[in-house]
């Protein structure tokens, strides 16, 4: 789920997209439009929850400027599954999910187009991924391992299919951000199967972090899109689990550059908990992110801002 904050930044980053241009583009999409103050506050504040009008407008504009590389019908199928999974009133939805899963498996076997293969596997990966908390919270080791492995296999097939497509159609390559997302999901499988208290010592997480080059890839992704606070936050999480102080410093600076509010460890960005509430950040907070260190970053940022103004 790409959040509205990121989409606004991605749109704004395009050449020629001043605030005036941005607002004009939004006016073209809707009669009601959005006022400048609202748009700007959503650009600045990672915790702001957009109303449905703004969300729809930004999604539409983002879709026009950055069309998804995958077939639209499969993106819509994914949305449909997300709605089904999140529906709390549907008491026997697991049966419907199993039916959908069976259909997807059949489609996957027949499919020959790489992007379709990739998206079908991505959705199958999501279905397995979403079962992980269920089995973990109920201590059901065998189905938990099976779900984890199934999700990882599907995400890996999805990555391979994108790579095949990029090799075959260099003029219509799928962007690096999609590959990053699929690899992020693989890492999320490794992390989410382990209860929070045991994550720092889990050998499979540490091993995958090292072999996947996740930290380096996150830094690379942040260089391309420095506004992606979820990438910086996850970078900080894994640097903390790996007990790497220089990486912790790198990612907290990246977060502070996105919003100074992140220097307050109790700050809660949209749909995420505060850093000081997460077990995964415990080492970083204890050993690096002391109040003195956070204050020094803030001082440095203020000095830099004054320097820029004068």
């Amino acid at each position: 789920m790409t959040i509205v904050f990121n989409k606004i930044h991605r749109l704004k980053q395009q050449p020629g997209w001043t605030w005036d241009h941005f607002l004009t583009e939004m006016d073209k999409c809707s009669v009601r439009g959005v006022d400048e103050k609202t748009l700007y506050s959503h650009y600045r504040e990672p915790h702001k929850k957009p109303n449905s009008q703004l969300e729809t407008l930004i999604n539409q504009l983002h879709g026009d400027c950055f069309p998804a590389p995958f077939p639209e019908e499969l993106n819509r199928l994914m949305r449909l599954y997300n709605h089904l999974f999140n529906c709390k009133k549907h008491i026997d939805k697991e049966k419907d999910i199993q039916d959908l899963e069976f259909f997807l498996q059949q489609q996957c076997e027949r499919e020959v187009e790489w992007l379709r293969v990739s998206r079908l596997n991505w959705l199958l990966g999501n279905i397995a991924f979403d079962r992980i908390p269920l089995y973990r919270n109920n201590g059901m080791r065998e189905p938990l391992d099976w779900c984890k492995q199934s999700a990882i296999n599907h995400y890996q097939k999805s990555v391979s299919a994108i790579e095949q497509h990029n090799g075959k159609y260099p003029q219509a390559m799928v962007g690096a951000s999609h590959l990053y997302k699929a690899r992020h999901n693989i890492l999320a499988c490794y992390l989410n199967v382990v209860p929070q208290a045991k994550r720092g010592k889990d050998a499979s997480i540490i091993h995958y972090l090292n072999v996947s080059n996740y930290i380096a890839n996150s830094k690379q992704a942040l260089e391309a899109e420095p506004f992606q606070w979820t990438i910086a936050r996850n970078g900080l999480r894994f640097s903390s689990l790996l007990e790497n102080d220089s990486d912790v410093k790198y990612f907290i600076s990246a977060l502070a550059n996105i919003s100074r509010r992140f220097l307050n460890l109790a700050y809660q960005p949209l749909n995420h908990g505060a850093l000081n509430e997460g077990e995964d950040f415990h080492w970083a907070i204890e050993n690096v992110l002391t109040s003195d260190y956070l204050a020094s970053i803030e001082m440095k940022m203020k000095k830099n801002n004054r320097g820029k103004r004068s």
């Binding site: 026997d92 939805k93 979403d130 109920n138 992020h184 929070q196």
Partner: protein, 94 residues
């Protein structure tokens, strides 16, 4: 004319009293008006097909705690209440 008015007034009062009586009646008394299922149908073991969808959904609601306490492996549906992610699980990206 007067007789007609007082008749209408009395009917209205009687109707209101009837409604008020029903609303304040204890649950048991209302249920008593509902005819109980014929015991003979169940005891004989009728081959009448049951409403399976309705029965299944009732089972899902009622038996979750019972099955857990017996140590049996619960189905995914029964466990949906426990499937909430932890506060700091990693979100999947689409």
């Amino acid at each position: 004319m007067r007789k007609r008015r007082s008749f209408i007034l009395l009917s209205a009062i009687a109707f209101l009293l009837l409604i008020a009586g029903c609303a304040s009646a204890p649950e048991g008394t209302v249920d008593e008006h509902v005819p109980a299922p014929e015991p003979s149908l169940q005891s004989i073991g009728s081959s009448e097909p049951k409403n399976s969808a309705e029965e299944e959904s009732l089972l899902l609601e009622d038996s979750a705690t019972e099955i857990e306490s017996q140590g049996a492996v619960p189905s995914a549906d029964m466990l949906h209440k426990k499937s909430e992610p932890q506060s700091d699980d990693m979100e999947r990206l689409d």
